[in-house]
């Protein structure tokens, strides 16, 4: 069974229209993670570490 019609168009255009291409998804994912990981890589700021220690040592 052919995957495309005589004009080379895929036989299920509706389905493909609704989904974002894999490459586009990958690019968005990369940018999102790069932005996020920039903050993750900063680790735990000292004032937050102090806060957690203070709160955990409370009687």
């Amino acid at each position: 069974m052919p995957e495309s019609d005589a004009m080379g168009r895929p036989l299920t255009p509706r389905k493909t229209e609704m989904r974002l291409g894999r490459e586009a998804q990958a690019r968005i994912g990369q940018q999102l993670r790069a932005m996020y990981d920039e903050v993750v890589n900063q680790g735990v700021p000292s004032h937050i570490a102090d806060l957690v220690r203070r709160l955990s040592d409370q009687d």
């Binding site: 994912g29 996020y36 735990v44 955990s56």
Partner: protein, 182 residues
């Protein structure tokens, strides 16, 4: 009562990701810092409601997300155009939110509805499963999936990433079609 050091270490280990989530949600590093501190205060004063062995990141993210949403609702009552103001904050203080190279992406992210933004970040950046993200947002798994899809599609539009090309005819086929049509 002192906190179990193992639990404390789990909390500390989640902080970097929790900060990244807060900054991605709020778009403002000062607000994000307040959110993280408020989350930790609440979490550690209610540590008895955390069940050891369950998902610490998911528990902390749920608290932060709920704090952010209640604050957002409050602000929305005060300022009609909360999203617009959020985008404006990004524009006027790009140095607050990180390096310039992510500015375009952050601006696009700021234009998404909050529901879609949080779903995309939780699944696409924090690395939660759809099930955990649904638990954090208090909605169905299917709802998270559709929000993530809509967020990606909208971001692709805003960033002019042409998604249609990926599924359409490839370059070669298009060239052939163009010649054939001439």
């Amino acid at each position: 009562m002192k906190l179990d050091p193992a639990i404390r270490d789990q909390v500390l280990a989640t902080v970097p990701s929790l900060r990244a989530f807060a900054i991605s949600l709020s778009g403002n590093i000062d607000r994000a810092d307040d959110l993280v501190q408020e989350t930790l205060l609440r979490a550690l004063s209610h540590i008895d409601s955390f069940q050891p062995g369950t998902n610490m990141p998911a528990w902390l993210f749920t608290i932060l997300r709920n704090l952010f949403r209640s604050e957002y609702r409050k602000r929305r009552r005060e300022v009609e155009d909360a999203d617009g103001r959020y985008a404006e904050t990004l524009k006027s203080h790009p140095e607050q939110t990180g390096r310039v190279e992510f500015e375009e992406f952050r601006t696009a992210l700021a234009k998404l509805p909050p529901d879609q933004r949080e779903a995309l970040i939780l699944v696409g950046a924090s690395g939660f499963s759809y099930e955990d993200a649904a638990g954090i947002c208090g909605c169905a798994v299917g709802t998270i999936k559709s929000r993530v899809n809509r967020a990606r599609t909208r971001l692709a539009e805003l960033l002019s990433i042409d998604g249609a090309d990926d599924f359409g005819p490839d370059e070669q086929t298009r060239a052939v079609l163009a010649r054939g049509g001439g």
